[in-house]
């Protein structure tokens, strides 16, 4: 039985086991039908031309973890941004860990999807938002069909959330191979402000496949800053489907830092449903070995006077492969749109590959849209400059790669996140420069 059949046949058992009365029951049933029809994407799909899921779909994944596993904070502390006070919504093998979490209902809700999907007090929010921004493709539908656990964050209006919220999904490797389908819903009220950090981390080398869906709704003038730290083990793969729906004058940013994992696919979609919206999509990718990272972005400008900024930097060593597919759609009504996109890459080896493809579909006539893509090697004269000051080749390379990707970090608003990313970059590049990059 292949993975698709296994998932489809498991669905009834899953649906019978939990909350059959919930309003999402019908949504889930429709979603499994879509998945049954479309299945997993293949390289025949234009959007998946450069990313093949074949090898990772061959594993015999356990779809429901059999038992709960516990972790001690001291064992997983390095994966937290632990030097700041934060709300924490933590999962172990797909199950909520109350031991590691620090949720809240004090003024805001930062808690569990499983509660939100079943408890009456959340019903209105679920009815209004759940699965309203997510697309109906095969992978997202698969997640919707099995949507059960994840983070549920609801910020009422006029609320600046002082502490960031960390969402971490751990997998323990107690199952030989594990498939996870986390589902996050984030609803941010008018004038409110929230910062979220998300991470997926497997603790062993067992194969893990995560098919995650996150829906973010930003109301008028809301500010949402979202940081994705992707530095997973070599046998962990992640398909991240994120949908951001923005109302007028809201500012949303998603930073994606991809340093680890076997295969990572980021489907990041922004929808601008209002005027004077600002959307930022930034990313740094530094990979090697046979790692693969694919950024598939969409910014849909629907109304006038909005901006979008995309800046993705990639450094590819060894046999690694990267994909950047950035689509910008400007509707006929979306006059005075400013849309910027830039994708710059450095290839460190002859065997590394990057496929970069900007796609602009512009139907308005009074807009500023720019896109640029570069693929190059490290600047030899800059290398000589650094080495002539006594800085060895490896450290000099690291400094130049840091200089290359550094500007992406300028827009990171949490200093501790910036420091952590710098440390991860230094570790990834194998250097200790005697100062924090």
């Amino acid at each position: 039985m292949d993975l698709k059949e296994k998932l489809v046949s498991s669905f009834m058992a899953f649906e019978n086991r939990i909350d059959v009365d919930a309003p999402v029951h019908q949504i889930r049933n429709e979603a499994i039908k879509i998945f049954e029809t479309t299945g997993f994407p293949s390289k025949k799909d234009e959007a998946w031309k450069y990313t093949s899921l074949n090898s990772i779909l061959k594993q015999d994944y356990s779809v429901f973890p059999k038992q709960e596993h516990a972790l001690e904070f001291s064992d997983v502390k390095p994966y937290f941004i632990h030097d700041i006070d934060a709300y924490k919504i933590i999962f172990i093998d797909g199950k909520y860990s109350s031991h590691l979490s620090q949720t809240t209902h004090d003024g805001i809700d930062a808690c569990l999807m499983s509660s939100a999907l079943t408890k009456p007090k959340y019903r209105l929010v679920i009815e209004n938002y759940f699965n309203k921004a997510a697309s109906k493709d095969g992978l997202t539908s698969l997640n919707t069909a099995f949507a059960n656990e994840g983070a549920y964050i609801h910020i009422p209006k006029n609320k600046v959330v002082e502490k960031p919220i960390q969402i971490i999904h751990f997998s323990t490797g107690k199952e030989a191979a594990l498939m996870l389908q986390p589902r996050n819903l984030i609803v941010v009220g008018e004038n409110s402000h929230v910062q979220i950090i998300e991470r997926h981390q497997s603790l062993t080398d067992h194969p893990v496949l995560t098919n995650s869906v996150t829906e973010i709704f930003a109301s008028k003038r809301a500010i949402v800053d979202y940081y994705k730290i992707q530095n997973d083990n070599q046998n962990a793969s992640l398909i991240d489907n994120t949908f951001v729906s923005q109302k007028q004058e809201s500012h949303c940013s998603v930073h994606t830092f991809s340093f680890g994992g076997k295969l990572t696919r980021n489907n990041l979609n922004f929808f601008q449903n209002g005027e004077r919206i600002d959307s930022t999509l930034n990313g740094i990718t530094i990979i090697g070995d046979k790692q693969h990272v694919d950024h598939n972005t969409l910014v849909h400008h629907i109304e006038p006077n909005c901006e979008s900024h995309q800046d993705y930097k990639g450094i590819f060593a060894d046999n690694s492969t990267g994909v950047f597919n950035g689509k910008v759609i400007v509707n006929k009504e979306a006059q005075k749109t400013n849309a910027f996109q830039s994708n710059n890459n450095i290839l460190l080896s002859d065997k590394a590959t990057i496929n970069s493809k900007p796609q602009l579909e512009i139907f308005a006539d009074d807009v500023k849209c720019s896109h640029g893509c570069t693929i190059g090697q490290l600047d030899e004269s800059a290398m000589f400059y650094l080495r002539s000051r006594g800085i060895p080749q490896k450290e000099a390379k690291a400094l130049l790669m840091y200089a290359f990707s550094n500007n992406v970090l300028d827009s990171v608003k949490i200093p501790e996140v910036k420091t952590r990313i710098n440390k991860l970059i230094a570790t990834k590049l194998g250097v200790n420069l005697g100062f924090d990059l």
């Binding site: 800059a382 650094l386 002539s388 000051r389 006594g390 200089a403 100062f435």
Partner: protein
């Protein structure tokens, strides 16, 4: 200190240096002058160890050691410093952090511990005062958005920090106004001692009014065709290079 014998070097199979002989002793200041394309920058890059240049014949000795096989960083660790004509911009790395890395990597290569932070700060303060460099300047990204003069001053600041035995100044005077020229020259002169040496590469005599050379060499078509005292620089300033070209060609 530096001894160059019959040096031939080429880049992409094009011969640029065609038999250079030069000896620089501790305490000396040498000026290398010459028209555009004569090989001045190539010579400085070859001494500093730029890999694109291939040494096809001859030898370079530094402190009696043949340095041909040494990398650029190893030459730096031995005390060779090149002040660049076009310093490279490194965004996101401050001047201070860059110098810390350079100094501590050099110390590491010599088997020394990292320089203690307070000592480093003191050194930075001392040397930045010498070059009349503002403190704010030190926290800026290396060379990013620096004016031509700031870049050159920063090069000499790095030289002051690293205290090389042999400093090669490649067209350090280009792009400098008279005040910056004076500051830079003053810095170089204060760093001069009987144990170190300076090679000044320049088009013009102007810088040599401030950094007075013991020897002046004329580089033309990949060879040193004439050597003399500081008066040779004045002669070149007055008469240009044509008379030398004529001398060679006749």
């Amino acid at each position: 200190m530096l001894k160059i014998n019959n040096l031939h070097a080429s880049v992409e199979d094009k011969a640029i240096l065609k038999g250079i002989n030069l000896e620089v002793k501790p305490g000396e200041v040498h000026a290398i002058m010459g028209p555009n394309g004569s090989g001045k920058s190539t010579l400085s890059s070859v001494i500093a160890g730029k890999e694109e240049y291939e040494v096809t014949d001859g030898e370079i000795f530094f402190d009696q050691e043949n340095i041909e096989e040494l990398s650029a960083e190893e030459r730096a660790h031995k005390g060779i410093f090149l002040s660049f004509q076009y310093p490279v911009e490194i965004p996101g790395v401050s001047v201070t952090n860059f110098m810390k890395t350079a100094i501590n990597e050099t110390r590491k290569a010599k088997g020394l511990e990292d320089m203690p932070a307070n000592e480093m700060l003191k050194l930075i303060r001392e040397k930045s005062e010498l070059l009349e460099i503002d403190r704010k300047f030190l926290s800026r990204s290396l060379n990013e958005g620096f004016s031509g003069g700031e870049k050159k001053r920063n090069e000499i600041f790095q030289m002051a920090m690293l205290e090389p035995k042999l400093a090669i100044l490649d067209e350090t005077d280009s792009g400098l106004d008279i005040d910056a020229l004076r500051i830079v020259a003053n810095g170089v002169n204060k760093l001069k001692s009987k144990d170190n040496a300076v090679v000044v590469i320049t088009h013009y005599q102007r810088l040599l009014d401030y950094i007075v050379p013991d020897f002046v060499h004329v580089l033309y078509n990949g060879r040193i065709v004439k050597s003399g005292g500081k008066e040779l620089a004045h002669e070149l300033e007055e008469k240009g290079y044509d008379w030398i070209k004529e001398e060679i060609n006749s």
